[in-house]
């Protein structure tokens, strides 16, 4: 992995968008670009700068004079040479941690003759290709679990299509995080810790310093004993639960009880996958 912990990381500005996780996904991705005209080259440039794991360019054309006008990644000296190789070399210069490769072959040929070629990639970017080939490519990619991104540009307009199987993303970033205090299911050490406290204790100083989470754990236990091992569910029960807590409060200065009552909702809204 690229110097992740180096503070003067060249990826600093983009880490602030997608974090370590996003960067890792980028660096582990193997991409394939079909046709490295201006559209493909420009797209790949942005990925290479960002640190994509590898990119393989598939294009059988040679660099012509007319390419010099619209593709920044070919130059006079490369006329007559393989466009894939030329673009590949240039892109490699942009980021030496990316593995840039090329294959001097037409994408259509590979689609027809060697579809398994695509199985090694995470993502295939198909640019300026005809619908017929795209349909075949899509079928191949679907079968092999490879993501496909189709891009076409015409003059001043362009379009992008993504094709990938429906999949599950478990990465909850809820707007309102509910911290799990394990009130309903304290683990062994927490339970032992909780047992050390006595809510009936005479000493008022100790009484008002019992942490509110402990008060709730104990209240849960008590509730369970008298309610068949279940937790408050109806609004009547929830109110009753809070009243039980209040009844134990001995004075206005007992902030711990106030906090416990305010946080009582944590008892019945346990964090689950939503």
């Amino acid at each position: 992995m690229e110097v992740r912990n180096n503070n003067n990381n060249k990826y600093d500005r983009q880490l602030r968008i997608w974090g370590d996780q996003g960067q890792l996904a980028l660096e582990q991705a193997n991409t394939c670009l079909l046709n490295c005209g201006p559209t493909g080259s420009e797209a790949l440039k942005n990925l290479v700068l960002g640190g994509i794991g590898s990119c393989t360019i598939v294009d059988d054309s040679k660099v012509e004079a007319r390419d010099l006008g619209n593709n920044f990644f070919v130059d006079w000296e490369s006329i007559g040479l393989s466009k894939a190789k030329t673009v590949c070399n240039f892109l490699q210069e942009l980021n030496d941690t990316v593995k840039a490769k090329f294959l001097e072959e037409s994408p259509e040929t590979i689609i027809n003759v060697n579809p398994d070629f695509f199985s090694q990639f995470t993502l295939v970017i198909a640019t300026q290709m005809k619908e017929q080939s795209l349909l075949m490519l899509d079928a191949i990619c679907r079968k092999q679990g490879v993501m496909l991104l189709i891009a076409r540009s015409f003059g001043l307009t362009g379009l992008i299509r993504i094709s990938l199987k429906e999949h599950c993303v478990i990465e909850s970033k809820p707007d309102n995080v509910i911290h799990d205090l394990r009130l309903q299911k304290p683990w062994a050490e927490l339970k032992r810790f909780s047992d050390e406290f006595d809510t009936e204790i005479d000493d008022s100083v100790i009484h008002k310093h019992i942490p509110f989470a402990i008060l709730l754990i104990k209240a849960c236990e008590d509730w369970r004993k008298t309610h068949g091992d279940s937790l408050p569910s109806t609004s009547k029960e929830k109110a009753e639960f809070k009243n039980l807590l209040s009844s134990k409060r001995r004075g206005v200065d007992e902030d711990n009880y106030k906090e416990a009552i305010l946080s009582a909702y944590r008892v019945w809204s346990s964090p689950t996958i939503s």
């Binding site: 503070n7 003067n8 990381n9 500005r13 983009q14 602030r16 942005n46 700068l49 006008g69 593709n71």
Partner: protein, 608 residues
């Protein structure tokens, strides 16, 4: 071909600049001037693709030019490694161009260029980007709004008392650590603000109230100095603050923190006074955190970690930067400084029950870092060139403001909007008078010049006069006795000037380079709200902040970066962007989704 004959000025060779230079070259432009004052940094390399690792430290403008010439040797590119506000770039300079293209990262420079373009009568294409968002627009004198017709939100400043007494957010603690503590310990002592906590009871004050508190005493070791400072700012200062009951009536009371509490059961990090840290003295690599085993900048430190870093970084700074102490300016890329600020901010946060930040996050906040990638800038550069071509063809009607969105809206990632006519209330492109409320008996001219004239009005070389009397001006060709007089004037209270400024006075503010004039009417006021009006003066009239409602018929531009420092912003790729466009019911004249404007002709999009 149109592009081949045009002469273009690019201001900025950074994120947008690199992409723009490439796009201009590919579009056939052959005569380009490029201005950028910056040098290349490692963090630029993820998107400013004309630069390589070996170019770090070199001029962006020059390296960009060289890179493009390698690919297109037949273009003329003149690179200026200079500040666009430099007097060399006067109206005559601007007049030679057919169009000016901005790829800047701060409002101040944008305003300056705006004024010069207005003065020279040259159309300006403006742009900005941050993360996935970006926008491009066009300004043509007398035909469209100028850049300043729509007021830009000024950099966020925090009331002093929030920073010194009642912080409630991480940014407050970071600003405190950076602009107060760091500045006081390592910067120019004469310029630093008070770290003293204000108490109503004037007889009791913190040990830190002693003006020499932060000076290292004779014979004091770095270790005992560090501990003394620690206890002073995180312990005593807080104790004193707590004595003011009024403050804490409806706020959570902070907890003082002392060295002995932090290390009650553990040893302090070894402070051995040695000057040799294994990383050497390179300010980019010398690190207290690494010595202490805290190698992951994204990990949030504990209170103990923060205390360790605080003490160690302080020691290293004292020992390895002796010659800089007393003049050190905070630089987010100065590793030790950044670690010190993070540690100090975290310790303060822990006293006030505010969540602590990792080094990575703190750096973003302290350095006003804006996230950025290549893709957005590439898109923006394309849009800039399209607008430039429309202008060169004389098709102003086809020019648009275009927003690059993060998610497609109605299946489009690019959203165009028609341009608006100039605002008659704009004090830049239409003459109008502003109102300045200030205490004329207690405010010095210097404050007005810094906060209002240079600050809010963004005037570069001001000439201030009242009627026929010149009160202040800047310039290289002034006579010595004039300069002396002006310097004296700066220190005088407004009503004590040779031409006294009192209630009802009208000042003229001019800048020849910007060809800018505006009038300032003075209104005397005694009292200012410390929290709401921390500058002790209020500028109003036609100039209103964007916190007020949006001007009708316009799109609201709001700054995205809301984590800025107490002083002027020095940021990288600061953005001015729309956020709320879709939610506002505006006379925006967005084009319908069925058609796309292509060089004056509406065409139906054909998607195969």
């Amino acid at each position: 071909m149109l592009s081949q004959k045009a002469k273009v000025l690019m201001v900025g060779a950074g994120g947008i600049g690199c992409e723009l230079l490439k796009t201009l070259a590919l579009t056939g432009f052959k005569d380009i001037h490029l201005i950028d004052l910056d040098t290349i940094e490692v963090s630029n390399l993820n998107r400013q693709f004309l630069f390589r690792k070996q170019h770090v430290g070199q001029s962006k403008a020059k390296v960009a030019r060289d890179a493009v010439l390698k690919f297109k040797p037949d273009i003329k590119i003149e690179a200026h490694h200079a500040n666009v506000k430099n007097s060399d770039f006067d109206v005559e300079f601007f007049k030679q161009f057919n169009v000016v293209l901005n790829g800047l990262d701060n409002v101040d420079a944008r305003r300056h260029v705006n004024r010069l373009c207005l003065a020279a009568g040259v159309p300006l294409v403006e742009s900005g980007s941050t993360g996935y968002l970006g926008q491009v627009t066009v300004h043509v004198k007398d035909q469209t709004e100028c850049y300043e017709c729509q007021t830009k939100e000024l950099p966020k400043t925090y009331p002093v008392c929030t920073i010194t007494n009642t912080p409630s957010k991480p940014v407050h603690c970071i600003v405190w650590a950076k602009d107060l503590l760091f500045a006081r310990l390592f910067g120019d002592r004469n310029q630093s603000s008070d770290l003293i906590v204000h108490t109503n009871d004037r007889t009791s004050s913190a040990a830190t109230a002693d003006t020499d508190f932060f000076n290292i005493k004779d014979g004091e070791t770095p270790e005992s100095y560090a501990c003394r400072v620690f206890d002073g700012v995180f312990g005593d200062n807080i104790e004193v603050a707590l004595r003011n009951e009024e403050t804490w009536k409806s706020r959570k009371r902070p907890r003082p923190l002392y060295i002995c509490e932090v290390y009650s059961d553990a040893k302090k990090p070894r402070i051995d006074g040695s000057c040799n840290s294994p990383d050497g003295n390179d300010k980019h690599t010398a690190s207290a955190a690494r010595i202490l085993g805290l190698s992951n900048p994204q990990e949030v430190w504990t209170v103990r970690d923060s205390a360790n870093v605080f003490l160690k970084a302080l020691e290293l700074l004292l020992n390895t930067r002796q010659k800089d102490i007393g003049s050190l300016v905070f630089d987010k890329d100065d590793q030790l400084a950044m670690e010190f600020v993070t540690a100090a901010a975290n310790l303060r946060s822990s006293c006030f029950d505010i969540p602590m930040q990792s080094l990575f996050e703190a750096k973003g906040i302290a350095g006003n870092i804006v996230h950025a990638i290549a893709t957005t800038n590439a898109i923006i550069s394309g849009l800039i060139v399209l607008e430039a071509i429309k202008l060169l063809m004389g098709n102003l009607d086809d020019c648009r403001t275009t927003y690059c969105l993060e998610y497609p809206r109605r299946k489009m990632l690019l959203m165009p909007a028609e341009l608006s006519a100039p605002k008659s209330s704009c004090y830049v492109c239409s003459q109008s008078t502003l109102l300045l409320e200030v205490n004329t008996t207690m405010t010095r001219l210097r404050e007005v010049v810094e906060k209002i004239v240079r600050g809010q009005l963004s005037v570069n070389s001001p000439m201030i006069s009242q009627g026929p009397c010149l009160i202040y001006e800047t310039g290289d060709d002034l006579e010595e006795d004039m300069v002396t007089q002006y310097n004296q004037n700066l220190e005088k209270f407004l009503d004590s000037l040779p031409a006294p400024i009192v209630d009802g006075s009208i000042l003229s503010i001019e800048d020849f380079q910007q060809e800018f004039t505006c009038h300032l009417q003075i209104k005397h006021r005694e009292i200012f709200d410390e929290e709401k009006e921390p500058d002790n003066m209020v500028l109003s009239g036609k100039l209103s902040t964007t916190r007020d409602q949006a001007l009708p018929g316009s799109v609201q531009l709001t700054a995205v970066a809301d984590n800025v420092s107490i002083h002027a912003v020095d940021d990288d790729d600061e953005v001015i962007l729309i956020d709320e466009v879709a939610k506002q019911d505006l006379k925006r004249k967005v084009l319908d989704e069925e058609s796309v404007i292509v060089c004056g002709k509406r065409q139906r999009t054909e998607v195969s």
